[in-house]
C-alpha cells in the first residue's frame, strides 16, 4: 500500500481543536435526511407480517387473498428468497432471520411481507395472509435453555468445540475455552476466594432512529438501496449474496444515522425490501416501527456468569475462573466467546481459565452492541474483584493497580500485550478528585475497569482539490459520531489549510472502493489513516505542478503551511498556495486528487476506568447517579468534543443498562415491553454531568497516534454502577438491571 502508518511525533495546528461539526446545522434544523426521509416517485409502502409465537412450525402460508387485494403490488415469503448461501452457516442464519423458512423462532420473526400503494392497503393485506402454525414449546431464559429437558430450537445442533462431538443435540451451540497456568493450584495458594453467579438481562442498543430503507430494483437487474446503516458496503455485499445479485449492480447510499451502536451493522429488513421491489417492479420503502425494532432487530445477549477469584492476603490474585453463558437468539454466534476473551483482559494473571457457552433461545437474533459482550463479562468480573478487595480490606483501585496487566503480560485470551494503557487509567482514577469527594447519606461509590479490542479494517478514501483550492474529502465509513468533523481536521492538518476549506462527505458504494463498516471503534482510526495517505498523495501532485510551473526538479519543492515552496538556490522565496496551484490545474495536468486504499490494522487494545457515585432510596429502591467520571486513553483526540461525547454516551448507555433496561417476556414467550414507555432508556434528567478525562498515550500504529474511542466507554459502567449501588445498599447486587424491585428485594434479604 506504500504508506507507513507508524506514529510520527509532531506538533498539531488543526487536530485537537474543537470546531463546529459540518452536519450540525442540518441536524438541528431538521434538514438532515435520515433513512425514512428518502422518497422516490411511484414508491410502494412495505409492511411485514410477524410471528405471534415464540416457537412454531409453519405448516402453510396462503398469500392469495392478500395478492388479490386492490393496491397490493407484491407479496413475498421465504419462497421468494431461496437459499443461495452455499452452506455457509452465518449467511443462512441471516437469511432465515430476515424471513422465516420452515419455523418461526421468536415473537416478531418475519413470515411474509407486502408492498402496496399505501400503508393502509399494506396493513389490510397483512390481515389477508393465512398462516397456519404448529405451536412448539419455547424457552427464553439462558439457564433454562441449557436444562436437559429444555425445548430444542434445532435438532441438528451438537455443541461445537467439544471433543468428542456430543451424541445428542442441545441448545448449547458452541463451547470455547481460554486461559493458561494451573487454576487448581492457583486456588490452592489463595487465602481469600470470592465466588458468585451474576445475571444480566437482554438490552437493546436503543438507537432513536428505527431501521429504514428505500429499495429500487430495475428490470435489467440493476438496483439502488438508500438505507440507514453503519456500513453500506457490507450491506451491499450481504444483500447481493442473499438475493443472487452482482455486487456492481447494487448501489447503496447511506443516510444520516440516528444511532446504531452495533445494531445497524446487521441487515434485518433490507433484503426483504429489495425482494419486494424486484417482484413489484417499483421502488419500495420499508420503515420499521419501534415495536418491530424491539421485537425483530438484534438486542444484545442475556447472560448468566459464574466467577471465582482467589488472592493472597497481600492482594495478589492467584487464580481466576469464569464460565459465561450468553444467549445468542435462534442461531449460533460468538458472543460468549468474545465475553470469555474480554472478561479478565485487564489483569496480569498467572492462572486463569474462561469458558464461553453460546446458548440458543427463542429471542431475536443477538446482535453487536458497542464493545459486544464485554460489558456483561466486566460486570461479573469487576463485581467479584471489588468484593475481593473489600474482603482483603484493600482500596479497590490499589488492588486493581497491583494486579493490572502491563506490557509483556500474557493476556487471559492468549496473546502477550504490547504497550497498553490500563495502568495509566487506574493511576489517573486514584489521583482524581472524584475518589476523595465526600459521600452523603444512602450514597455509595464504585469504580471499575473495562477492556475492548478495537479494530481497523479495509478503507478507501478520495481527496479532491477543487478549482478554488477548497477540498472535498469522500470517505466510505459512515459518520456515526462526528467523523466528518474529525476527518476534515485531519485533511486540514495534513494539507496546511483551514478546517472550513474542507468538506467531508460519505460517498456511496459506486463511488469508492470497498470499505468495512463503522464498527470496532474503527471509523476515525481507519479513515483518518486513509485521509492522511490521500492528502500526502495530493501534496505530491501539487509539488509536481509547482515544479512544472517553475521549471525545477520536484525534489526541490517542499510543502509547508498549505504552500509549495521552491528550495532551489537562485529561485528566491517563490511559493504557490494550494489555491494558486488549483486555479492553474487545468493547464498543468488536469484535476488534482489524492487517493488511498489501505488496510488499517494495528488499532491496539483499549482500556478505561470509570468512577460512579449513586444514591439509593431505601424506601423505593430507586437509584440516582449523582456523579460519574470516565477516564480513557484516546491515543490522540482528533476532535476532543466528539471523544468526550463517545465517553459520555457510552457511560449513559451503560447506566441505563445497569439500572433500568430489560427485555421482559411473558409466559407465552412474547415480548411485553416493546416500546420506550415500558423499556426505559435514561433521559437527560436521569443523568448527572458525566465528567471525562482524556489520556493521550500515542498509538504506535497510527501517524498521529490515534486510537478508537467509540466502544470501550460502555464496558465499565455496569460494574461501576453495581459496585456503587452495592456499597450504598450494603448488600451485593448481582443481577442487572438493578431496578427498584430488585434493589428492594436485596434490601429485604439483608434485613
Amino acid at each position: 500500500m506504500g504508506f507507513d502508518p507508524s506514529y510520527q511525533d509532531r506538533k498539531f495546528n488543526a487536530v485537537g481543536t474543537r470546531p463546529k461539526r459540518p452536519d450540525g446545522i442540518d441536524k438541528v434544523t431538521g434538514r438532515a435526511r435520515y433513512g425514512a426521509d428518502f422518497n422516490m416517485p411511484g414508491q410502494l409502502v412495505a409492511r411485514v407480517l410477524r410471528s405471534p409465537h415464540a416457537h412454531a412450525r409453519i405448516t402453510s402460508i396462503d398469500t392469495s387473498r392478500a395478492e388479490a387485494l386492490k393496491g397490493v403490488k407484491a407479496v413475498v415469503t421465504a419462497a421468494d428468497m431461496p437459499d443461495l448461501t452455499g452452506g455457509k452457516r452465518s449467511a443462512f442464519a441471516i437469511l432465515s432471520n430476515c424471513m422465516a423458512r420452515d419455523k418461526v423462532f421468536y415473537d416478531g420473526h418475519a413470515v411474509a411481507a407486502v408492498a402496496a400503494i399505501d400503508a393502509r392497503t399494506a396493513r389490510a393485506a397483512l390481515k389477508l395472509i393465512d398462516v397456519t402454525y404448529d405451536v412448539l414449546p419455547h424457552v427464553v431464559d439462558v439457564d433454562a435453555a441449557m436444562a436437559a429437558d429444555a425445548p430444542l430450537l434445532h435438532d441438528n445442533v451438537f455443541t461445537r468445540g467439544v471433543d468428542p462431538r456430543p451424541e445428542t443435540s442441545s441448545n448449547v451451540a458452541a463451547r470455547s475455552e481460554f486461559g493458561h497456568g494451573d487454576v487448581a493450584a492457583g486456588f490452592a495458594a489463595a487465602e481469600v476466594v470470592v465466588e458468585r453467579t451474576y445475571k444480566t438481562e437482554q438490552t437493546h442498543q436503543g438507537y432513536i432512529e428505527p431501521h429504514a430503507c428505500v429499495a429500487s430494483v430495475n428490470p435489467d437487474g440493476t438496483a439502488e438501496l438508500w438505507v440507514c446503516t453503519q456500513g453500506h458496503f457490507v450491506f451491499r455485499q450481504t444483500c447481493a449474496d442473499l438475493l443472487g445479485m452482482d455486487v456492481s449492480k447494487l448501489r447503496v447510499t447511506s443516510s444520516e444515522i440516528g444511532g446504531g451502536f452495533g445494531g445497524k451493522t446487521h441487515v434485518w429488513a433490507e433484503p426483504v425490501a429489495l425482494a419486494l421491489s424486484r417482484k413489484a417492479g417499483r421502488p419500495v420503502k420499508l420503515v420499521m416501527s419501534r415495536d418491530e425494532v424491539f421485537r425483530a432487530s438484534g438486542p444484545t445477549s442475556a447472560t448468566s456468569i459464574d466467577v471465582r477469584i482467589g488472592a493472597t492476603s497481600d492482594g495478589r490474585i492467584t487464580a481466576a475462573d469464569a464460565t459465561l453463558r450468553y444467549s445468542s437468539g435462534p442461531w449460533a454466534d460468538a458472543w460468549a466467546e468474545t465475553g470469555a476473551m474480554t472478561s479478565f483482559a485487564c489483569y496480569d494473571l498467572e492462572n486463569v481459565r474462561t469458558v464461553g457457552l453460546e446458548v440458543l433461545v427463542n429471542r431475536p437474533k443477538s446482535a453487536a452492541y458497542r464493545a459486544p459482550s464485554a460489558p456483561m463479562a466486566a460486570f461479573a468480573v469487576e463485581s467479584a474483584v471489588d468484593e475481593l478487595a473489600t474482603r482483603l480490606g484493600m482500596d479497590p483501585v490499589e488492588f486493581r493497580i497491583r494486579n493490572a496487566a502491563s506490557e509483556g503480560t500474557r493476556s487471559s485470551y492468549g496473546p502477550v500485550y504490547g504497550p497498553i494503557g490500563i495502568g495509566p487509567t487506574l493511576e489517573a482514577a486514584q489521583a482524581h478528585a472524584h475518589m476523595q469527594a465526600p459521600l452523603g447519606e444512602n450514597q455509595g461509590r464504585g469504580m471499575a475497569c473495562g477492556f475492548w479490542f478495537n479494530f481497523g479494517g479495509q478503507t478507501c478514501t478520495d481527496l479532491n482539490v477543487n478549482a478554488d483550492g477548497t477540498v472535498t474529502l469522500a470517505v466510505g465509513t459512515v459518520d456515526v459520531g462526528g467523523a466528518r468533523a474529525s476527518l476534515s481536521l485531519v485533511a486540514a492538518e495534513e494539507l496546511g489549510i483551514a478546517y472550513d476549506r474542507v468538506k467531508a462527505v460519505v460517498a456511496d458504494t459506486a463511488t469508492l472502493g470497498y470499505n468495512d463498516m463503522t464498527d470496532g471503534s474503527r471509523g476515525t482510526f481507519s479513515s483518518s489513516m486513509a485521509t492522511i495517505s490521500a492528502a500526502r498523495n495530493a501534496i505530491r501532485v501539487m509539488r509536481e505542478r509547482a515544479a512544472m510551473t517553475w521549471g525545477i526538479p520536484v525534489e526541490d519543492v517542499v510543502w509547508e503551511d498549505g504552500h509549495a515552496r521552491a528550495r532551489t538556490p537562485g529561485q528566491g522565496n517563490q511559493s504557490l498556495s494550494i489555491k494558486d496551484i488549483a486555479a492553474k490545474s487545468g493547464n498543468t495536468g488536469g484535476p488534482i486528487a489524492g487517493h488511498s486504499e489501505l488496510v488499517a490494522d494495528g488499532a491496539g487494545v483499549s482500556f478505561a476506568t470509570h468512577i460512579c457515585d449513586v444514591e439509593v432510596d431505601p424506601e423505593t429502591g430507586a437509584t440516582r447517579v449523582v456523579r460519574y467520571t470516565v477516564i480513557q486513553d484516546a491515543g490522540k483526540a482528533v476532535h476532543p468534543d466528539y471523544v468526550e461525547g463517545q465517553y459520555q454516551g457510552g457511560a449513559a448507555q451503560g447506566i441505563g443498562w445497569a439500572l433500568n433496561e430489560e427485555y421482559i417476556y411473558g409466559a407465552d414467550g412474547r415480548l411485553q415491553n416493546p416500546g420506550f414507555l415500558d423499556y426505559r432508556v435514561p433521559v437527560c434528567s436521569d443523568l448527572p454531568m458525566i465528567d471525562t478525562q482524556i489520556l493521550e498515550i500515542p498509538n504506535p500504529n497510527h501517524p498521529y497516534g490515534v486510537r478508537g474511542v467509540g466502544e470501550t466507554s460502555i464496558v465499565p459502567p455496569l460494574a461501576a454502577v453495581a459496585n456503587a449501588v452495592s456499597n450504598a445498599a450494603g448488600v451485593r447486587l448481582a443481577h442487572i438491571p438493578m431496578s427498584p424491585p430488585r434493589i428492594l428485594a436485596a434490601l429485604d434479604q439483608k434485613g
Partner: protein, 81 residues
C-alpha cells in the same frame, strides 16, 4: 520457525495442541501451513480469523511478516459494534 498459540475453539482441531510450531515468513504462509497440517482448521478460518503479532491484532494484512521470536497468536475475527 515460530511458535503459534491457538484460540480455544481451534485446539481440538489441531490435535489438542494449544501451541504449534510453524515455519512461516508471513501471515499468509502461516495460515496456509496451519491448514495443510490440520485440515479441520479450514472451516473456522473461512468463518473469519485474525492473527496477533507481538500484541497487535491483524485482521486483514496477510502480508505482515512474522519477526524472529515474535509472539504469535491466532484468534477468531471478532465483530465490533
Amino acid at each position: 520457525m515460530v511458535e503459534v498459540g491457538l484460540w480455544g475453539a481451534l485446539i481440538p482441531l489441531a490435535g489438542n495442541q494449544p501451541r504449534v510450531q510453524v515455519e512461516a515468513r508471513d501471515i499468509r504462509e502461516l495460515l496456509r501451513k496451519l491448514v495443510e497440517a490440520h485440515p479441520g482448521l479450514q472451516e473456522p478460518f473461512d468463518e473469519g480469523v485474525a492473527v496477533v503479532i507481538d500484541g497487535t491484532v491483524y485482521r486483514d494484512d496477510w502480508s505482515r511478516t512474522l519477526p524472529d521470536g515474535a509472539e504469535v497468536f491466532v484468534m477468531r475475527r471478532l465483530a465490533g459494534g
